[in-house]
Amino acid sequence: MILPFDLIIQIFVVICAVAAITVKDLLSAVMILGAYSFFMCLMWAQMGAVDVAFTEASVSAGIGTILCIAAIMKTTRRTKD
């Protein structure tokens, strides 16, 4: 059985993943990746893995995004693909 909530989150996750690798601006891509991580963490919380969801929320959606943004600020936003 697929719960509607699950289904919505899964669709969002896939959309975010596709958008993160197709968008032509690195800063947007990283922000979308943060959103992706957050949806992922919601999905895991839904599956009962609260510890993992907590970690994902603080690490990937938090520190990971910050590190990526810092690196992009230090380098460039431009990309061809």
Partner: protein, 131 residues
């Protein structure tokens, strides 16, 4: 057939995500895009592990609901295995997430080194600049 697809739907999602990440890692020419692909790839594997831990039928979080059974021999035996979600994959994935962020940090450091030297993040342009 439909039941087969529905009964494993989480696995399909993880396969799709893994393919997206894998494709980004090997086909994209931008280094940060490769890192993003790497992140998606690793997250997909974590999703797979978490999916294996799930139990249907009223299983709850892997935290004992009544931790005051301390010292009563009979109280602990009442802990039903089917009542709680399998904690082992969660533990493994905590470690995997740590590895993920560590790899991310090192990869970004290397990207900054590359940019400092060549002024671009596109792999083709870097190879051209090296010659």
């Amino acid at each position: 057939m439909l039941e087969f697809i529905v009964s494993k739907y989480n696995f399909w999602i993880y396969i799709i995500l893994m393919m997206i990440g894998f494709y980004a890692m090997i086909a994209k020419r931008n280094l940060v895009k490769k890192i993003i692909g790497m992140n998606i790839f690793q997250t997909a594997i974590i999703l797979f592990f978490i999916s294996t831990a799930y139990k249907t039928g009223g299983a709850t979080l892997p935290i004992l609901l009544d931790p005051h059974g301390h010292g009563h021999g009979a109280a602990e035996s009442a802990v039903a295995v089917s009542q709680y979600i399998n904690p082992l994959p969660h533990v493994l994935m905590l470690t995997a997430i740590v590895v993920m962020v560590a790899t991310l940090g090192v990869a970004l450091a290397i990207v900054i080194m590359i940019y400092r030297k060549y002024g671009t993040l596109n792999e083709d342009e870097i190879i051209k600049a090296m010659k």
